[in-house]
Amino acid sequence: MRAAKPDIPALIAGLALLALGGLLLAHALNVVELSFALFAPVACAATGAILLSNGLGRRE
């Protein structure tokens, strides 16, 4: 039986959200000081990765 192919866009979206959640959790636990200068690039990178993988994986 062949293993199911992973859904790459969903995988990347999940990982990006995990990273964002982890960062916010670290901020809530006072592990990192989350400033706008730090959060903005991370948020942009996460959103960009999700959109890019979704766009490349889309079949039209």
Partner: protein, 414 residues
């Protein structure tokens, strides 16, 4: 015989014929199915932000091997294209913000206007693609050109509106970049004075020279239209010569009514397909297959062996179609006038160029003494190659056979 030299579709290769310098951006774009303009934009901005772009590009040039630029990977379209563009933009923004946070930064007054200019410039370049009507031979069936379909195509409302809005947004971004730079450097008020002076000068000169400018524009437009019409006429003449006239010549030589009927039916089918602007039934989609099919057809019609060797392959775009048509005409001439000698065809598609040699060992002829009414060589071979931006060279002399060399750049969807 066909030798296909296409590399593995998964390997990352530079695309020198599709690139501006070493084809690094074009190769990356081809490998990952991203618009090459976006990849270039990333390198430009990385260069502006700290000079990394240049180092990365040089490294890519050294490390990534060059590959032949046959076959283009299909870019995402519609919503997928929007998502890819937005995603790439956001990733780029995150890289820039990171550079800024790390202090690897020239200055806000330089980098952000540069980003805006690069984005706007990319949009303007993409929006200013040559309209279909500007090149009559570009991917448009000649019969469709005859019916004036090109103008209708270029006026398709959706595509035109999208191109105009892309160009408009691009222009707005470039103007915003200029204004942001002037504002950041405190030169906005001085620039306003200069702008006013320039506007005043343009208005004054415009009023004075308007009649001459209008006349010049009108004359250039008329000249362009006449050139396009003349090219269309030549294309139609070449097509009719290669198809209808050749068939009529065969009909005149044939004594077999069944053969004549078969020739007439085949010609009718071909002519109907051409008039309706669709490819003839069974037409190959690749250069090698089309050349072999044309050779088989010439062999069948004239009973002369035609040996074809093709190295490399490419899609059958308008330029490749022109090469196939000119090759067919050269093969037909070799079969008709080569005194039954075999015809050898060698074709090569590499480095963005198509090269074909057609040779026979017949009695040969002196190309300088070719009668003016021989349209086959003049229009169907030499003229056709010239109209598509290529060249044809005929080397022949009595008793030494004939070699026709055709060379044409392969079209690219840059």
């Amino acid at each position: 015989m066909t030798t296909d030299s296409q590399p593995s579709a998964r390997a990352l290769r530079r695309d020198p014929s599709g690139g501006w310098l070493g084809g690094v951006c074009a190769g990356i774009a081809l490998r990952y199915g991203v618009d090459r303009t976006l990849v270039r934009l990333v390198f430009v901005v990385a260069t502006a932000a700290g000079g990394f772009g240049v180092a990365l590009y040089a490294l890519g040039w050294l490390v990534i091997p060059a590959g032949p630029s046959t076959g283009r990977r299909r870019l995402p379209t519609g919503r997928g294209a929007v998502e890819v563009a937005l995603g790439t933009g956001l990733l780029l923004l995150s890289v820039l913000l990171t550079f800024r946070g790390l202090g690897i930064w020239f200055s806000d007054a330089i980098v952000w206007p540069l980003v805006l200019i690069a984005s706007g410039g990319a949009l303007i370049w993409r929006g200013s693609g040559t309209p279909v009507a500007a090149t009559p031979q570009a991917d448009v069936p000649t019969a469709a050109l005859l019916k004036g379909e090109t103008e209708e195509r270029s006026r398709e409302p959706g595509r035109t509106a999208a191109a105009i809005s892309r160009t408009g947004i691009g222009i707005a971004l470039v103007i915003a970049a200029g204004l942001a730079f002037l504002q950041a450097t405190g030169a906005l008020s001085a620039a306003r004075d200069v702008l006013l002076a320039v506007v005043a000068a343009v208005v004054v000169l415009g009023v004075i020279f308007a009649p001459w400018i209008l006349r010049l524009v009108r004359s250039l437009t008329e000249e362009r239209s006449e050139r396009i019409r003349s090219q269309e006429r030549a294309e139609v003449a070449a097509h009719l010569h290669d198809s209808v006239l050749q068939t009529l010549a065969l009909v005149q030589r044939s004594d077999d009514p069944q053969e004549v009927a078969a020739l007439a039916r085949r010609q009718e089918r071909e002519l109907r397909a051409w008039l309706s602007g669709r490819p003839p039934a069974g037409q190959a989609a690749r250069l090698a297959a089309a050349l072999e099919s044309a050779a088989a057809d010439v062999e069948e019609r004239h009973g002369v062996p035609v040996e074809v060797v093709v190295v490399g392959d490419s899609d059958l775009d308008s330029n490749a179609e022109a090469v196939v048509a000119a090759t067919r005409e050269a093969m037909t001439n070799a079969a008709k006038f080569g005194a039954g000698s075999p015809v050898d065809v060698y074709a090569e598609s590499s480095d963005g160029r198509l090269h074909v040699f057609i040779r026979d060992r017949g009695p040969g002829f002196d190309p300088a003494t070719l009668p003016a009414d021989r349209r086959g060589v003049r229009e169907s071979i030499v003229g056709r190659m010239q109209r598509h931006g290529g060249r044809a060279q005929i080397a022949s002399s009595p008793a030494s056979g004939t070699e026709v060399e055709l060379e044409l750049p392969a079209r690219s969807d840059r």
